[in-house]
């Protein structure tokens, strides 16, 4: 009997751990799609969000706007200037922006910002520094482009000569 009770207790412990782990996972990483789709449920709650800072940092007095992209959508993050100052690279054509992990209060209809869906950051940490993106031109593309251009120039010359005649 004691053996069965032990097994039962062990199973309960495993289940509890699994539940705690699952809850921790959802608390740790909210996807942007989840924030948008479950905005009503998550409104005014503290969330943790992770992604790449894209575009530009938009300062507003002692605060700033960041746009953090997680692969699905970019979400506006309102944070103090000192937090924004941690970010050295923002995502663009030539740059992979800093990846940040942040916690903050999620608003479905932010009263402070004319009804925006945003996160007011409480903590922010740069988890991976951004880097420049190299765009190499493939030799095939280069050859194809030059060949076509030469053809166009020849056509242009042909049309001009024909017009003069």
């Amino acid at each position: 009997m004691i053996k069965y009770i032990r097994i039962f207790l062990l199973l309960c412990a495993v289940l509890c751990c699994a539940d705690v782990y699952a809850r921790a996972e959802t608390l740790l990483y909210r996807r942007s799609a989840q924030l948008i789709e479950q905005a009503l449920e998550l409104d005014e709650s503290t969330v943790v969000f992770k992604g790449e800072v894209v575009g530009h940092i938009l300062p507003r007095g002692n605060y700033a706007w960041l746009n953090v992209y997680d692969g699905d959508n970019a979400i506006g993050v309102w944070c103090p200037l000192y937090m924004a100052a941690l970010i050295k690279h923002t995502g663009s054509y030539s740059m992979r922006g800093d990846s940040v992990a942040l916690s903050g209060v999620f608003h479905r209809e932010c009263r402070e910002h004319a009804g925006e869906l945003d996160i007011h950051a409480l903590t922010l940490e740069v988890v991976r520094s951004g880097s420049s993106i190299k765009h190499d031109v493939s030799p095939l593309k280069r050859k194809f482009a030059i060949t076509l251009l030469v053809l166009v120039l020849m056509c242009g010359l042909f049309v001009m000569v024909r017009k003069r005649r």
């Binding site: 938009l58 700033a64 959508n73 970019a74 663009s92 593309k141 076509l148």
Partner: protein, 501 residues
């Protein structure tokens, strides 16, 4: 019978004019090419060299092989216009596809058609890392398409006035601002350039004030103006207007969107000092009443349903989206998922109505258009009055659109036919969406957005959507922009050509 006698000659004339227009499209690629070169985006330069060269090669070939002195007939003009939009989007898609931001060429073609038709639905991947050159090209396509690709060619390449008028009408514009259609085309471009300078400057200054660097402020200002005035809806950032978190940007784009939705003829009257036209014009009255009525209903609904309880949400989310929908622009200050999940059926229906109605005739908007709505409404009230009065009485109804116009049955009939075609097009896309497993109301929302060249999305439009739906939306954007007539004529021309009649 006419086609039977001269079908090869028809093709020759059509091809000749197509050649001219393709050269114009290719020449326009020089702008993003130059920008890419200036910003050292050398990989992008090659993309535009390829697009430019293909356009010019095709154009030169058609001009050389099909050289003709003949002017266009009505049929040829209409077929030319319908084919122009299909093939110009094909050429415009080349540099986009080469950017590597599209999963397949069809997605790039979808984007190019969306750009030229000023729709704004997008299948791009990772927009925030797109080059400046490609981004400029997306917005430039909107500017060209909004003014009319053919109007552009008319202004600079076509000399025969009668042929020019046939192309002009084929592009879904049936009003001339000035007596001569080439003068009209030049006026449209001149006015657009003037607004372009003022609007871009204002948006640049707002960008600077909002903390954007000078170069980005200018770039975003120019791109946003082109897409707002031409009621297109592309933006350089994946969050649309939400990226800026700025009420000033939102207010400025509302004004530009409304300016873009006004009839160019009305612009002309206003520039000539005829301010009274604003108060009397049937399109302005219909647009104002429609916006007022829908916004009132939306506001009541949003407050009652708890979607937006505060002024900020009601105005900068509800009103902004309504203006964006009604003008056919498609700028968003909410996420696609919010429209689908939070707004509810009633708000979706209101937005579908706003998108479906559109703005002014001879403007850059799509949809049914305000003049047609005004004409049908006036025709209906005339008929009801006739029923109420003795049979012997003669009733004459006039509407005011630049001048007093007597409401004739023919006018009401033609307005009704186009309206009916639009309604069929909206429902057609929704049925295809429903057939592919999407709920009907969101499918109708997306379909109306595509067919009325709006660009608002509740999330259906994405790179993962079925190919059939992509093709359907491409067709809807094309047919909606050209307002059917040239499409019908192209279909008839093709059937006759195949049958040899």
């Amino acid at each position: 019978m006419l086609l039977l006698k001269s079908r090869l000659q028809d093709l020759k004339i059509i091809s000749y004019y197509l050649g001219k227009i393709f050269i114009a499209v290719g020449v326009c690629m020089l702008a993003p090419m130059a920008l890419s070169f200036f910003l050292a985006e050398y990989s992008v330069v090659y993309d535009f060299v390829i697009g430019f060269s293909l356009s010019l090669l095709l154009g030169y070939s058609l001009l050389t092989l099909c050289k003709t002195e003949e002017d266009l007939t009505w049929t040829q003009g209409m077929v030319t216009v319908a084919l122009t939009w299909l093939i110009a989007a094909l050429l415009g898609a080349v540099p986009l596809f080469l950017s590597g931001h599209y999963r397949c060429f069809l997605d790039a073609y979808f984007e190019a058609m969306s750009g030229f038709s000023t729709t704004g639905l997008s299948l791009i991947q990772d927009l925030d890392h797109l080059s400046f050159g490609h981004n400029l090209w997306r917005h430039l396509m909107m500017f060209m398409g909004g003014q009319g690709i053919v109007v552009f060619a008319l202004s600079f390449f076509v000399s025969g006035a009668s042929g020019a008028f046939r192309l002009y009408v084929g592009e879904g514009r049936d009003e001339r601002v000035l007596p001569n259609v080439i003068s009209t085309a030049r006026f449209i471009w001149g006015l657009s350039l003037l607004y372009f300078i003022i609007g871009s400057l204002v948006l640049t200054l707002i960008g600077l004030k909002n903390g954007l660097p000078l170069g980005i402020s200018i770039f975003d200002g120019v791109c946003l103006f082109m897409a707002a005035f031409d009621t297109g809806g592309f933006t350089p950032h994946s969050q649309s207007i939400l990226f800026y978190h700025s009420r000033a940007f939102e207010a400025a784009t509302v004004i530009i969107m409304v300016l873009g939705a006004l009839n160019f003829k009305l612009h002309y009257e206003l520039w000539m000092g005829n301010r009274q036209e604003l108060k009397k014009n049937i399109e302005v009255i219909a647009f104002s009443l429609s916006v007022l009525l829908i916004f009132t209903l939306l506001s009541i609904y949003f407050v009652m349903s708890g979607t937006y309880l505060h002024k900020g949400g009601l105005f900068f989310k509800g009103f902004y989206q309504l203006i964006s929908a009604h003008t056919g622009t498609g700028y968003q200050t909410v996420y696609n998922g919010q429209i689908a999940n939070e707004w509810g059926d009633f708000a979706l229906i209101m937005m579908i109505i706003a998108m479906g109605l559109g703005g002014g005739i001879c403007s850059t908007t799509g949809g049914i258009k305000m003049l047609r709505l005004g004409v049908i409404w006036s025709g209906l009230s005339l008929d009801i009055n006739k029923l109420l009065l003795p049979e012997s009485s003669v009733l004459v109804k006039k509407i005011h659109h630049i001048k007093e116009i007597v409401l004739e049955p023919k006018l009401v009939q033609s307005s009704f036919i186009i309206t009916f075609c639009f309604l069929i097009l909206y429902v057609f896309g929704a049925l295809v969406g429903a057939f592919l497993g999407y709920p009907f109301l969101p499918a109708l929302f997306e379909s109306t957005s595509a067919a009325a060249n709006v660009g608002l999305s509740c999330g259906i439009t994405c790179a993962d959507m079925p190919v059939l739906l992509k093709l359907t939306y491409i067709f809807q954007m094309w047919a909606g922009r050209l307002e059917f007539i040239s499409i019908f004529i192209l279909a008839g021309f093709t059937v006759a050509f195949i049958k040899g009649k």
